[in-house]
């Protein structure tokens, strides 16, 4: 149950890792939840599907790892998901899969989040609805 995800932190489904005291954080010890269950963190996290950056995959390939470029990985990204479209969401179907084990779906925003989205666009951000699977956040 996704709504109960926070209850999985520090439970038997969490490895309960903590950092060493962080000098830059007033020596605070920070909890690092990791999934201790088949499925790992994907079974206890916020369930967002975000692919890595195209530039990173291409760099990995250029370091001598044949087959790891963004374009070569794309068939596997697609094979991993069954995307369920929603009318309001402008998906980039050229990078979406239709027959994989992960069932993915956009979720409508709460009214306040719609306003936040509008405010980002007003601030000059480009609106790229499906940017998190398109690989184009180069330079992160």
């Amino acid at each position: 149950m996704l709504g109960g995800a926070a209850a999985l932190i520090k439970s038997v489904y969490d490895w309960n890792y903590d950092t060493i005291p962080q000098k830059a954080c007033n020596n605070r010890i920070i909890a690092v939840p990791r999934g201790r269950v088949l499925g790992g963190c994907s079974a206890m996290n916020g369930s967002l599907l975000i692919r890595g950056a195209k530039a990173d995959y291409d760099r990995i390939a250029s370091m001598g790892n044949a087959g790891w470029s963004w374009d070569e990985m794309m068939p596997f990204f697609k094979a991993s998901e069954t995307f369920h479209p929603a009318e309001w969401f402008e998906a980039d179907l050229s990078v979406r899969g239709t027959n994989g084990p992960l069932h993915t779906e956009p979720y409508p925003l709460a009214p306040i989040s719609e306003k936040i989205l509008e405010s980002f666009i007003d601030c000059g951000y480009d609106y790229k609805p499906d940017m998190f699977v398109q690989g184009e956040f180069e330079g992160l």
Partner: protein, 92 residues
């Protein structure tokens, strides 16, 4: 869910991140092994790997991974798994 991404001080956009949830049910990486059609896959849960067994290698590299030492969490039984080909270490 809305996110923004930054490239130094240049904004690159705002968009939506889809969820791995459909009809109220979460799907996870475990779904890659449930209902897996091939018969050459064995999944053992409740078994924790303690170390990778390394052997001095004659073929140039200094060490070669030849297996893993694990234990059954419930019984404490020690388990040695040897490999012919390769070990894929997935540690989060």
């Amino acid at each position: 869910m809305i996110f923004t991404r930054y490239c130094f001080q240049n904004s690159l956009g705002v968009g939506h991140a889809v969820r791995t949830v459909h009809n109220g049910v979460r799907t996870t990486s475990a779904d890659f092994v449930y209902n897996f059609n091939k018969t050459n896959l064995t999944v053992r849960t409740g078994v924790y790997v303690d170390r990778i067994i390394l052997e001095k290698n004659k073929e140039g590299c200094e060490y070669k991974a030849i297996g893993v030492e694990a234990h059954d969490d419930a019984s404490g039984e020690s388990i040695i798994i040897k490999v012919k080909k390769e070990i894929i270490l997935s540690a989060g």
